[in-house]
Amino acid sequence: MIFYVCYTCLLLLLGSGSSRAAEEDARLVALKSILNDHIVDERDLTIQYRIYNVGTSPAIGVTLQDSFPEDRFKVVRGFHSVRWERIAPGANVSHTVVLTPVGDGVFNFTAAQIDYDVAEDGRKQTSHTSAPGERYILTSRDFDRQYSPHVLDWAVFGLVTAPTILVPFAVWYGSYSHYAGKEKKA
């Protein structure tokens, strides 16, 4: 009985100690977002990572790691792997990568991985960013067909079509107005 009580008190002490430690740890929340409205083959795609430290201790040795298949994307600017020495509590950092898709079709944008030390004692933590999910990569032709304004093309079309309608109208109207006036006089 006494042994049982002592054992229970020991467990409670240890538990309260670890929860106090957890409250003082760094805690990172990370977002991975695609800044483009449309993803188009052979055109820049911008991906932004934002990391927030919502804990009460600085996050130490924060490493962000992401990957994209080389046969689907070419890196234009930025790095897939980034390290920050320290992210203070309440602070946030961001990182941007610019890619160019190669080929069209559906692609599943998965979460990136974040590794960091939650406190000075070197306890490690691994977490992940949010995942944008499946997005469709359009061909340039489809994108132009659906979204390009084609102002110049419509202007040329108008320039070519207008004479075929206006010239016969002008010929007809010239004769009509000439004789319509004389009809009234007659």
Partner: protein
């Protein structure tokens, strides 16, 4: 005179009052019709992104088909308007002809013949011009409404074929109406 043969004067009268368009008007119809039928290739290529070499097999027959339908419509609309315009313009042409000093010495039958000839010319010109204007405008309107509004989410080849065919059909249908 052998039966079935006409004098030169009779042939001239037949040509002037015939419903068949003259050679000049025929060529005008063919050139205009081909131009109007070919214009939709530009928005199909540039806006619908239909490559010329890939879709040439569709562009050529549809252009020829549309041109044929447009020429048909030109002729029908012209025929239906010509007589009405002749009747409407005759009084005004008569007044204009009578007032001209060179016609004051003509006898009444000669003046009437001149008036009829002039009215026929005016009616021919007006009916030709109006027919071309009306059919061109209607064809373009129907093509644009179908290709870039009603059928915009369909496959581009289907879109082009149906738009041009339907525009040609509408023209032919309305030209044969009352």
């Amino acid at each position: 005179m052998p039966k079935g043969k006409f004098t030169k004067e009779e042939e001239k009268l037949l040509e002037e009052y015939s419903r068949k368009p003259t050679k000049g008007v025929e060529w005008l119809f063919y050139i205009n019709a081909f131009l109007i039928a070919a214009i939709p290739i530009w928005p199909a290529w540039r806006i619908l992104q239909m490559e010329l070499m890939t879709y040439g097999i569709i562009f050529v027959p549809m252009t020829l088909f549309s041109a044929y339908a447009i020429v048909f419509s030109y002729g029908k609309v012209k025929d239906s308007l010509r007589h009405k315009i002749f009747q409407k313009r005759r009084p005004a042409v008569a007044t204009e002809t009578s007032e001209a000093s060179e016609n004051k010495k003509l006898t009444k039958p000669q003046r009437d013949e001149k008036i009829d000839w002039k009215t026929n010319e005016v009616a021919d010109r007006e009916s030709t011009a109006f027919s071309i204007f009306y059919n061109n405008a209607l064809y373009m309107l129907v093509f644009l409404a179908l290709a870039f509004y009603l059928l915009r989410s369909f496959n581009v080849a289907f879109n082009y074929i149906v738009s041009t065919a339907a525009a040609s059909f509408v023209l032919a249908l309305l030209s044969t109406g009352p």
